[in-house]
Symmetry: C2
Subunit: 377 residues, 2 copies
């Protein structure tokens, strides 16, 4: 089947289980952990042509292609992954896994706690970006990978940074898009509002809602609506919706949806609750809030001292959630630490979401960056 | 009592009732309307030294001084109103009233519907900024005012603009601070999330909650938290809170409040529900969303053609909710319409809230603007 001439086609999500307990950053010993992952392309004999893709807040292992003939949409970074694409599956063995704490096949709060036979809920331990990378490392070892390139947008970029620091002898190159080494106070604030909406939903029931008639859908939808405002920007909202009304050319004079932008947000909230778990939203936003390389290592320069990788850092002009200034902080610290870094700020009206949309420009830049590390033909 | 040497002292909130029905913009005939108001200073014999202050989203009639000896805080613009202050009560008769639809003494959804003997709830008609100004006009006529200056920040600025257009023969001067002639799509989006949080709170009970055991406090608190993020800016949040933890120097590894910025937002949400009504929040944000002078008059220039007032427009560098670009739109339209306009962008790290905080700079600019219209000594 060739839905798209450069598609990786039909792929199956695979599962790998880490049986031994993992030492989490909080001090908790946790396990077993199942990891959902997909791979595209073939690992070479030297086991050094791997690219590990790291998803954003609500992503999953399904980065490219289709899981079945009937899928309407391909994976979340399908524009970037496939034969001849930015992450060229003719050359590279591309790996994508669902993050620890997620709800798409990797162990998270909705998974069954073997000690109780019931979903973990809030008994799931609070996790960090570092913990997520620990799990990914086990997967990569299991797959036999010796050297790899790590790449991710948004929260995925945080994981890529952590990879380069935690496993300097393994990571050859790092691609960070629309990301940061630590969230701003404003970023924490937006996440806090989303968590508050979930925690205060009476159907949340202290996280124990999986077998209940009602789920905390209202709180999760509001969290998603807040999130979507931050993923776009005023310019993209203006271009997409402006002040246009949804149903007519004048106000409803009631509290139904009036404006197109309201309709869009409500739709985003509604569809999100069908695919995402409220507890996972709590855990993963918390992991994002905690991530702070400068605090952990004394300075961002110190954090990067040990890395041996080449870096590509990209940001977007209209991204106000993870603004260019934060990418520049990373770049400056890498330069101070004497590392090899390329930086590009891409002109885009798409806000933070640009890393999922501006694939043509990203493709050119990523290809050129990767080519520098490839053997000459 | 002189809590503050330049305070207006103890003031009493007064009430005025419009008995006849008012024609609202939606077409509904509505009344009676009670208006809560305060005045500071004395109306002169010519009845032309009045300044009408117009409050922002959640403000009230109590702009200056103290309502009782025991009040801990003065009115919301006390720094700007009093003897010798920007709005100098030695010279001017300053009026402030609670907006139609509010919950601080002026008729709103929490008021008793005389037809049923119960609070209006969602039977209260949807109102607009224009409707609010109609009510204010009745109050000003009742007080015997012939000529006036109108001044307001944020939503108050919208009302001031409407005043200058609706009553060109009465308005001598207009002071607009951190305001706009229409909300951006992003602004509507933030309001929509706030309304959604209230509407989806199970205790909202379709707006009929006044005699119930539980009120929609969770939804209203979330709406307020979202609002507060937009009233500050990343710079002010960084300066106030940064990434500092609330209780220790390391993460809690739980879902209690970790960061200072979370604690601040939760506090703001908590105290807000004690002083504000969820239904009023719905109605007033809707009025703000609807306000659009360019759409109503064909263009902003057309909207201002009839005004006879002098204008002072002020914005703040870090205000991203009502950004300087929107103030400039107003200024440019006024210039095109041949009106007298002064504009000042004030350097401030306080975000949108600057109009409530940067009183020293505002005082200088307002005094200088008002002096131009005052008779020489």
């Amino acid at each position: 089947m060739e839905k798209n001439p450069a598609s990786v086609g039909i792929v199956k999500t695979e599962y790998f289980t880490i049986e031994e307990k993992i030492q989490l950053e909080s001090g908790v010993q946790f396990g077993p952990v199942q990891v959902a992952y997909e791979t595209y392309g073939v690992l070479n004999e030297q086991k050094d042509n791997a690219i590990l893709l790291l998803h954003a807040l609500t992503g999953d292992a399904h980065a490219a292609g289709y899981n079945s003939e009937n899928d309407k949409k391909p994976g979340w970074w399908d524009d970037m992954v496939g034969p001849g694409k930015a992450f060229d599956t003719n050359k590279y063995f591309v790996i994508s896994s669902n993050m620890l704490g997620g709800c798409s096949g990797t162990t998270g709060p909705c998974s069954i706690n073997p000690d109780t036979g019931k979903p973990y809920g809030l008994d799931f331990p609070v996790i960090t970006i570092e913990d997520a990378v620990k799990v990914q490392k086990k997967l990569v070892d299991f797959l036999g990978v010796k050297k790899l390139i790590v790449a991710g947008g948004s929260m995925g970029g945080m994981q890529a940074l952590e990879w380069s620091i935690a496993h300097p002898d393994m990571v050859d190159a790092v691609i960070i898009i629309a990301s940061t080494s630590r969230l701003t106070a404003q970023g924490i604030a937006f996440n806090a509002v989303g968590r508050n909406a979930i925690l205060s939903d009476p159907d949340f029931n202290n996280g124990d809602y999986y077998d209940k008639e009602k789920q905390p859908e209202r709180g999760l939808a509001i969290a998603r609506m807040v999130g979507h405002i931050t993923y776009l920007c005023e310019e993209s909202m203006h271009n997409k919706f402006g002040r246009r009304f949804q149903h007519s050319d004048r106000p409803n004079f009631d509290f139904n949806v009036d404006f197109q932008v309201e309709s869009y947000l409500e739709h985003q909230g509604r569809v999100f609750v069908d695919r995402f778990d409220a507890n996972s939203y709590l855990y993963i936003t918390k992991a994002v809030d905690y991530f702070d390389l400068a605090a952990k290592y004394g300075s961002l320069k110190n954090a990067f001292e040990k890395t041996n990788a080449r870096f590509l850092v990209m940001s977007f002009t209209s991204d106000w959630l993870f603004p260019t200034s934060q990418s520049k902080e990373i770049v400056q610290a890498l330069i101070k630490a004497g590392k090899d870094v390329s930086f590009c700020e891409i002109e885009s009206p798409c806000g933070h979401d640009a890393f999922l949309l501006e694939f043509e420009t990203q493709t050119k830049i990523v290809k050129s960056f990767l080519a520098k590390g490839e053997p000459n033909d």
